[in-house]
């Protein structure tokens, strides 16, 4: 089943096009990364999914329904820019958001207490937000998003502004909810988190989709890269696009080798064997998502 579907969605603000004919789908139970640089259209897309703003054209389906507040019982949302009511207590805050999402007061309080206990904030349940540290407030914010055990959790740049401890906590919660069957969509421009969490991902630039698929499919879009230590230059071997000399030791030379697009490192190894091409090392370097991002989205946007 499809948890989220966008079909040709466009959003214009005046004469500026923020999202351009965006189409993708997220399967039930998936952890889906929504990657793009600043101003790529991630937040606008997520706001349209949540019906905070309406698309100029296109169709959105969320859990098989049209976007709207009637879905809020099944949704969790953690916005990029986060804040809480300073004068409310931690538990009141979580209960309030739980009730806004259709929970009963008792269920929201019980769920809120359980989450605060799990996050190590059981003793601060009745402390006002203004008295909590920033890290504690961040945990309360996360609790407001997941108190209703959402079927679909949408996180907009969830790791931005979090300290390393809370980043770890958030990753754990994402994995826990995923194991329990929730679908998770999160936007980020920090590739390490996407690498650790995503089943599939989408790359967005200037409001347009640049890639959608698994991490392996994303990496496959980059030419394979190898480190060889050989007696001779591998430049003349079939499928090699370039070979750069790295260092030399006892008559052996290190080479940074790039294959032609679509080239298979296995084919190169086979060619070496068949030709008696002497090798002391044959190491395939796996391209990172960061490399993929830089390649697809473009230079400056990939800077963290």
């Amino acid at each position: 089943m499809t948890a989220l579907l966008l079909d040709g969605v466009t959003k214009d603000f005046g004469d500026k096009r923020a999202v351009d004919a965006l189409s993708f789908s997220v399967r039930d139970g998936e952890v889906f990364g929504f990657l793009g640089g600043n101003g790529a259209g991630k937040t606008t897309s997520l706001r349209m999914v949540l019906d905070i703003i309406r698309p100029t054209s296109g169709r959105i389906e969320i859990l098989g329904r049209r976007p709207g507040r009637e879905n809020s019982a099944d949704l969790g949302f953690l916005p990029e820019e986060r804040g809480l009511y300073r004068t409310m207590t931690a538990l009141e805050t979580i209960t309030y958001f739980g009730r806004l999402k259709g929970m009963t007061r008792n269920d929201a309080r019980t769920g809120g207490k359980a989450l605060l206990d799990r996050f190590g904030l059981g003793g601060s349940a009745n402390t006002k937000i203004e008295k909590l540290s920033k890290g504690m407030a961040q945990k309360v914010q996360l609790a407001t998003a997941i108190v209703n055990a959402p079927r679909l959790l949408i996180l907009d740049e969830p790791f931005s502004g979090l300290d390393p401890v809370n980043q770890g906590l958030l990753e754990e919660e994402i994995m826990r909810l995923s194991r329990q069957g929730s679908t998770i969509v999160f936007s980020t421009h920090v590739m390490q988190h996407a690498e650790r969490l995503c089943d599939r991902l989408l790359l967005l630039a200037d409001g347009r989709k640049k890639f959608e698929g698994t991490q392996d499919e994303a990496r496959a879009t980059l030419p394979a890269r190898l480190t060889l230590i050989a007696r001779e230059t591998p430049a003349s071997l079939p499928g090699v696009a370039s070979a750069t000399r790295l260092d030399e030791h006892d008559g052996w030379t290190g080479w940074d080798v790039r294959l032609e697009p679509g080239g298979d490192p296995g084919d190169l190894l086979q060619a070496c064997t068949e030709r008696g091409f002497a090798l002391r090392r044959f190491e395939q370097s796996r391209p990172s998502l960061h490399d993929v991002f830089i390649r697809i989205v473009g230079g400056e946007e990939g800077q963290q």
């Binding site: 507040r69 949302f77 804040g83 009511y85 806004l100």
Partner: protein, 499 residues
């Protein structure tokens, strides 16, 4: 599942109710009502002023004292007459002078009243026919009291008096047993000749009525002296002094006429003022809350759960609930004070609460109050949604406050002076002033067509306002950065374009 509008409203209410400012404002009127009778009691203490007469001839002082006493008795008679009229007690003695309310009491009538037993006798007669719960008659205190003249002063010459009396009347004397003197009056023995002046020392500006008494009494003595010198027989001269016109007085019954307009307008004017006060306070609290929601970046998380419309209505309802709670507490305190207190406060509050006994007036007041609240709160709400900080909000708020607040004082004055004047009627049809003006006018009576017409106009204005400002509110919630210009606000009203 609770309606999200009411969840937002309840949160808004709780947030405002948790502030110290809310409680101070809430309690200020009950506290004021509680201390008002005490203050009034203290303020009434020093009403009577002490007058010392220094009269070497011994002829003028008794006449002046008699005149002051006669004027005080006239004041008592007038109060009794008004009391009898208010409580329908004329039947106690229809022939008594206090049962005649249609003229200014002559000296002869006052003297007859005193001779007939004065207040004591009249009050006893009224008590016999008055229902048991009738408020007792409270005699006004005399304006002036003649204090004895010390022997050392009675024999002093004007020059010596001029050295001693200024200190006495300015209470600078060191003698703690000395009675405070407000006026010291020296009447020379030969004042009738016109050669020596009558001298007055006072502790402040001289009272016109006391000078009137002095002038009239002494003039009378001088005229008598003159007439006798002209050969007029003493009894004829005396009779000539008593010639006085009969003055008929036509005035409305107590609590009617202009007095009625004044008293019956007190509650509506007060409600109008309360609307204004509570609106300004709860509106600014709500505005602070909205600015906080924007600056704390928590709007987006809320908007994922409730629509901007639900959010807006929730905030409006929460603010109205705050305002109504304040006004309910204030009105309850006023009613409690009206029944718990006596004297001036109760005299004003009880008739002032009378308009509420007419369901149509009470309904109209509730309508205009609520409509006023929605109309002005909507403006505050939109300003809050457009502002990143309270300072930003001030830029919009100041002109709006000026437009709303400036005419308020004028409306109140105009309503008291003439509730059906053209200016007041025109203001009733300008929607942003309709609630204040109509609330203020209701006590004096407003034609039904005007109530319905201005009410419908106001309703239409509010509907359009909620639609247009609602668009600005929704579009501004997630916006950030520079304040929108008036042109941009205009565009948002027309198109409701988001972000």
């Amino acid at each position: 599942m609770s309606n999200p509008i009411f969840l937002v409203a309840a949160r808004e209410f709780r947030q405002i109710a948790a502030t110290r400012g809310f409680w101070i404002t809430l309690l200020i009127i009950p506290i004021a009502l509680a201390i008002a009778p005490i203050t009034a009691h203290f303020m009434q203490k020093d009403h009577t002023e002490n007058v010392m007469l220094i009269d070497p001839s011994g002829q003028a002082a008794p006449a002046i004292a008699a005149r002051i006493e006669l004027d005080h008795q006239r004041q008592l008679l007038q109060s009794l007459s008004r009391y009898a009229e208010s409580h329908d007690l004329d039947r106690a003695d229809p022939r008594a002078v206090w049962a005649h309310h249609d003229h200014y009491y002559s000296d002869a009538e006052v003297q007859a009243f005193v001779a007939g037993g004065g207040v004591k006798h009249a009050d006893a007669a009224m008590r016999r026919v008055a229902p048991p719960d009738t408020k007792p008659f409270e005699a006004p205190e005399p304006d002036y009291k003649i204090v004895p003249t010390p022997a050392r002063l009675a024999a002093s010459d004007p020059a010596a008096l001029g050295r001693v009396l200024p200190a006495m009347v300015s209470h600078a004397t060191k003698d703690p047993t000395a009675q405070p003197i407000n006026y010291a009056i020296y009447i020379p023995a030969d004042f009738a000749s016109g050669r020596a002046p009558v001298q007055v020392w006072s502790d402040g500006p001289v009272a016109g009525d006391l000078m009137g008494v002095l002038q009239e009494t002494l003039t009378r003595a001088m005229r008598l002296h003159f007439l006798e010198a002209q050969g007029v027989r003493p009894e004829m001269a005396e009779a000539a002094q008593r010639i006085a016109p009969m003055i008929a007085v036509n005035r409305p019954l107590p609590g009617k006429g202009h007095e009625q307009v004044m008293i019956r307008s007190i509650l509506p004017l007060l409600v109008s003022y309360l609307l204004f006060m509570s609106l300004m306070l709860s509106g600014s609290w709500m505005l602070q809350g909205t600015v906080e929601e924007r600056s704390n970046k928590l709007i987006e998380a809320v908007l994922a759960c409730v629509s901007p419309g639900q959010f807006m209505y929730g905030k409006l309802i929460g603010t109205i609930a705050v305002g109504l709670t304040m006004v309910a507490v204030w009105v309850f305190a006023a009613i409690a004070a009206a029944f718990a207190t006596q004297g001036m406060i109760a005299d004003i509050l009880r008739p002032a609460l009378e308009p509420l006994t007419q369901p149509s007036v009470a309904l109209a007041m509730i309508y205009y109050f609520l409509a006023g609240y929605v109309m002005i709160s909507m403006i505050f709400l939109t300003i809050g949604a457009m502002s990143d900080s309270f300072r930003d909000a001030q830029a919009y708020l100041s002109p709006v406050m000026l437009i709303i607040a400036m005419p308020f004082a004028i409306i109140a004055q105009m309503v008291v002076r003439d509730p059906s004047s053209m200016g007041v009627r025109i203001m009733s049809w300008i929607p942003i002033y309709t609630p204040f003006t109509m609330l203020a006018r209701l006590g004096a009576g407003v034609p039904l067509w005007e109530v319905i017409g201005s009410g419908l106009t106001l309703a239409a204005f509010i509907a359009i306002e909620v639609i247009l400002l609602g668009r600005v509110f929704r579009a501004s919630l997630l916006g950030a950065g520079s304040k929108p210009s008036l042109a941009h606000i205009g565009r948002l009203m027309r198109r409701g374009e988001s972000e």
